[in-house]
Subunit: 381 residues, 2 copies
């Protein structure tokens, strides 16, 4: 017997109540029974997105909603600013270019956040830029970008702020309407605590205006059509019925905890993880602007990060994420978003301590755990 | 307590073993554990698609794979022939036009199959036609189109046969390689006995050649990228993990029954349903070329089909499908694909008899059931 722990930044663990809700006999999607669930779920999504706008539910991975955010709002030749600080920032640019947009790339060192002044300068210098595309949380580097500051820059311009909130929404505060985020995308397998297969997207009034004149071709990801269907408590094409049933369950859990408490919990778990890494002498990947979704740290000199992640997974049953591209083999990423609590962090830290020791690295057992405990205790009366 | 029976042509009932497989704690998609499942599932899919080609798995509804079949294979301005004999035939044309293709529409009366001679004439008259797009089974009318004959027409031309097999693959015989079908699409919520959210598509060598020069923009549905990832037992974007785990389970069931037996079962259930409808004096929607996926029949004069379907669903707990567009209120569609057996058909027929009687229609109770029983008995030693 090997007990398994999933501590990677997506898919994240699915609560048992959501698993069981999804395991019930399937129902037809064009029935009052499902419409009722769809309607309730759509309302709950607004709460988590902190918006009065409709939140569309698409049967797709998050990338599908990213693509739709481009194909529904722009025309070939439109100029956009892409904040490229990791795998997912890069994706904004690749999708834009695939659809004939002119992408201006703002490259940021992996692990760093974009400096809003750089974006301001780019916008000031080129009045043709129709959108800034960025991640709230760049999952590949565990860094958070300054969304509030970026929204302040786009708010009064004829330019949209398009935010990949796949590991941001429901993780930390991203008040879409208050800040003036124009497009916010998310996915089921992160803070929404569900299996992958559902993507979400909400648009501001300003973004819906862009939609009216957008000429990039589209069909499956047709936001206008989805919004029209949403008013009738349905979707344009067959919805991912079971995932939406699970979503309702997961959203009820978030509502019950209260969004603010959810954010506090994620913040506490994230700080504890970072403190533990530092106590173990592990250099953080994004020390200045860390995301509360996941913590990345460099493995010590002489340790192969790939082997470490493999050892943790195959020998200890603990699944974390390694690095991508040039960070491959150099980092480990521990998640703390969604269905995570105190003792998931303890498991994460203790297993890292033990695995590092197995890799020949000298570890003071319990040093990381102790640093985490100190912070995790804040969660208790 | 109201016991519910799902007898609509998708989503179809999900076997308990698949529900339970999907209810297990989620696993990460970039692990040897999931790769193993992915690999096995991809192999099993080839068996059901009757092809040596890769069968791609996309996180989307079936429409997503239909879209991809167009965006990955053609360029704006390309001419295609669309067999429009229902809602889904129409969809081929709409997607083609959304992406700038020139669609030539071959309109077929709802409930009828396309005459291959009409397609031959169109192909002979216009050598520029690059594809024929058709449904193996047009779910909205319960009619089957003559795929074998159409494949014979496209085989030796520079023209692809693109088949929507969403309610065809795994329902009746569609030997992709043998017949020379170039693109075959399907979806999880039909014969694959799963919740919606997964789409499948396989391409012939000839179709892959078209892919090389296709210029319609695409990103999320990128077949070349998916094929490349499939070789590494993974997908381009986060896969719908739980649905793929359920798929493996469902495919094992199909394999165990044997595809030929699956087809025989569907054929028997379909014949029984048609015989029952006829015994009850209900006019079939597609008498000449019926699909074994579902049977559609006109409701008797004086009965409101919408009310009948609603009564069945809300009072009797039996969900069937009504008609779409101009058939709204006029027909009922009973499914018999996927996780369906003898007594599902008995329930369907008995409930229709009883509900029709409640609607004031004179019914000889048991007449439909008896006609079905006669045929259903063939399934037993």
């Amino acid at each position: 017997m090997k007990k398994r722990y999933l501590l990677a930044p997506g898919p994240t663990p699915v609560p048992e109540s959501a698993l069981l809700a999804m395991a019930q006999p399937i129902i037809h999607h064009r029935t009052p029974q499902f419409s009722e669930i769809f309607k309730e779920t759509a309302e709950l999504l607004k709460y988590v997105f902190q918006t009065k706008q409709d939140v569309l539910m698409l049967a797709a991975s998050g990338t599908g909603a990213m693509e739709g955010s481009i194909t529904n709002l722009f025309s070939p030749g439109d100029e956009v600013l892409v904040v490229n600080g990791g795998k997912f920032g890069e994706r904004w640019g690749k999708i834009s270019e695939a659809y004939g947009l002119k992408a201006h790339w703002l490259t940021v060192e992996w692990g760093k956040a974009i400096d809003p002044a750089v974006v301001k300068k780019a916008l000031d210098e080129n009045q043709n830029i129709k959108a800034v595309m960025v991640q709230a949380s760049e999952t590949s580097t565990c860094a958070a970008h300054p969304i509030k500051e970026l929204a302040a820059l786009t708010k009064d311009r004829d330019c949209l702020l398009i935010v990949d909130g796949i590991t941001g929404v429901g993780v930390f505060d991203l008040p879409m309407d208050d800040w003036g985020i124009d497009v916010m995308v998310s996915g089921s397998q992160k803070a929404f605590m569900l299996p992958p297969g559902l993507a979400f997207v909400a648009l501001s009034e300003k973004a819906w205006k862009f939609q009216e004149t957008a000429k990039v071709p589209r069909f499956y990801f047709d936001f206008k059509k989805e919004r029209k269907n949403l008013k009738d408590n349905t979707s344009a094409y067959t919805p991912a019925v079971t995932l939406i049933i699970g979503l309702r369950q997961a959203l009820l859990m978030i509502k019950e905890e209260g969004l603010e408490n959810t954010f506090k919990r994620h913040d506490r778990l994230a700080r504890a993880t970072r403190a533990a890494a530092e106590a173990l002498g592990l250099k953080l990947l994004a020390p200045e602007s860390p995301s509360n979704a996941a913590t990345g740290f460099f493995v010590p000199e002489g340790v192969d990060g790939g082997k470490l992640v493999k050892y943790l997974r195959d020998e200890m049953g603990v699944t974390m994420a390694g690095g991508q591209d040039h960070l491959k083999g150099k980092i480990v990423r521990v998640a703390h978003l969604g269905y995570f609590d105190t003792f998931d962090i303890i498991v994460a830290i203790a297993s890292i301590e033990m695995a590092l020791s197995k890799m020949g690295h000298k570890v003071a057992f319990g040093a990381g755990v102790a640093a985490a405990q100190q912070i995790l205790l804040e969660g208790y009366k």
